[in-house]
Amino acid sequence: MKTTYREALREALREALTADERVFLMGEDVGRYGGAFGVSLGLVEEFGPERVRDTPLSESAFTGIGIGSALAGLRPVVEIMTVNFSLLALDQILNNAATLRHMSGGQFSVPLVIRMTTGAGRQLAAQHSHSLEGWYAHIPGIRVLAPATLADARRMLGGALADPDPVVIFEHGSLYNLSGELDEDGAAPGIGAAAVRRPGHDVTLVTYGGSLPKTLAAADVLAADGISAEVVDLRSLRPLDDATVMASVARTHRAVIVDEGWRTGSLAAEVSARITEQAFYDLDASVRRVCSAEVPIPYARALEEAALPQPASIAAAAGEVVGRHG
């Protein structure tokens, strides 16, 4: 079936709302407007304003309301327009959603799903372009997912809703128009598993979310140069699937991590450290990182492009790692 990332997400929401009447979607403009990115278009007509619930601009309150209603047995899906605005709700996510279970000695679970957009690439300037997935991946008590393919867009929500604990799902803004064939009844992928998106034997390119298409493009460039790159999509940023990453590094002996977050204190830093801790003796070269430049993401197209990982910069880093030591 031909579909887009946006439609796949909508289909996942439709399925969830149909399957379980405890599920409801809540957030700014999710109803009448159809979602800031069109993901929930038409769902309010189908399920009504109680279950596709428009909220005022109140990130902290509606996220906290999601937490409270989850505590009381509902299965809310909270949409926060972008990760930038989620900072107004960070207190609720970190201090309540992620910690209530532990603080209560295991008495309360928070079966909440929070969806939000992330990432740059659309010339929206700093306050609409940041990638803070790594911050969320830092937090024990939540799970963090980053669907990068149509199949993950279609099926990760189901897995997240089945999880009894809070799950944060990052949808990269540049992926909504991604289109392609989606197999109608694929299985729900497990949370916490990475996937090898392209096999190869010279270098492992580890990435996730909006950087996956760029990394696959870089692998094409490398292939034309006779370098065979394996592309690992982390898919789950917390927990991280160490086994898949290390198995790949054991095959290729080289690793480049591609992460749209800033380099300092990034998820890429975490993955790099894990490779060094767990697969040091498999390595033929030091681990490299391709991250965003350490600036607020600029507006001007050329500046924005220069700030972000691009197929050319990814291919160049991989080429160096292979060339220098190959």
């Binding site: 109140s58 309540n96 209560s104």
Partner: protein, 341 residues
Amino acid sequence: MTTTRRTKAQRGRPSQSAAAKHRRDLLAGMLLIRRFEERCVELYSASTIRGFVHLCIGEEAVATGVTTALEPADAVVSTYREHGHALARGVPVEAVMAEMYGKATGCSGGRGGSMHLFDAGRRFYGGNAIVAGGIPLAAGLALAEKMRGTGGLVCCFFGDGAFAEGEFHESANLAALWSLPLLLACENNLYAMGTPLAVEHAQTDLAMRAASYGMPAWAVDGMDVTAVEAAARRAVDGIRAGHGPHFLELRTYRFRAHSMYDPDRYRDKTEIERWRTRDPISVLAERMKADGELNDTVQDELDQRARREVDRAQQAAEAAPAESAATLLRHVHTDSEEAPA
């Protein structure tokens, strides 16, 4: 008239009517909180219990009066100053004391301590140490009550300091907009830590401001437990009748410092003494005596009973096993066998 009643009471046969028994229960409830917290002071001074400990001594009428108006099926959300709310809600004093000790038998398995008391069975949802952090959560619980049609309501306790946070205003707007079954119980003790009401609020009439969200709101004497209970019942009736959130400004005072760490330099001692003359326990006890429902002997018995309960809880907490460090990583995520329904 009053004199004859008093004489009768002094002979040891105070009135036994249902109303008298109810007031005696209120008194006993407040005494338990008072004696529990006094014990906390001793235990803290002896370094037996640690952490931030916030006492509600002086504010017992609020916890007792409001929770008395609730049903067991209702939910309660509280703050870091929640010993009184937890005990008034019926969380066993042993479980609360054991939590203060960080023991395995504590009501949060030793993970929470004084500021994070939880009890799922009594629908007591903590124990939130982020000022105003519990308010959106309470609104969410109320949304769930409404969507599921359970007829339950949610009571959220918070302070005058929390009223200044955006989370209160966002939640008040949403709760009124969606007509949620939410009782917003604002404990106005005149201070946010060391900041007086007039230094934190441009307009200090909190009930009036809450009313601007389109919800019934009024102020009550928070030192008078029967007045608190009556106001809470009126609010609860309005909420159950489907009139959406209600706001109570409970005008009260904490006799002790903000926390055990606080030297309390910002308050005039005469102010504290003036409020002490309105101690909620004496206010009720005196009224009961005047009405022939209590005498010194009975009051003393009630007091001894509270002390014995606290003694037992302390002994049990001391004897209880510590939570083992081997369990450190428990309760971060839900084990599959304990997943919620």
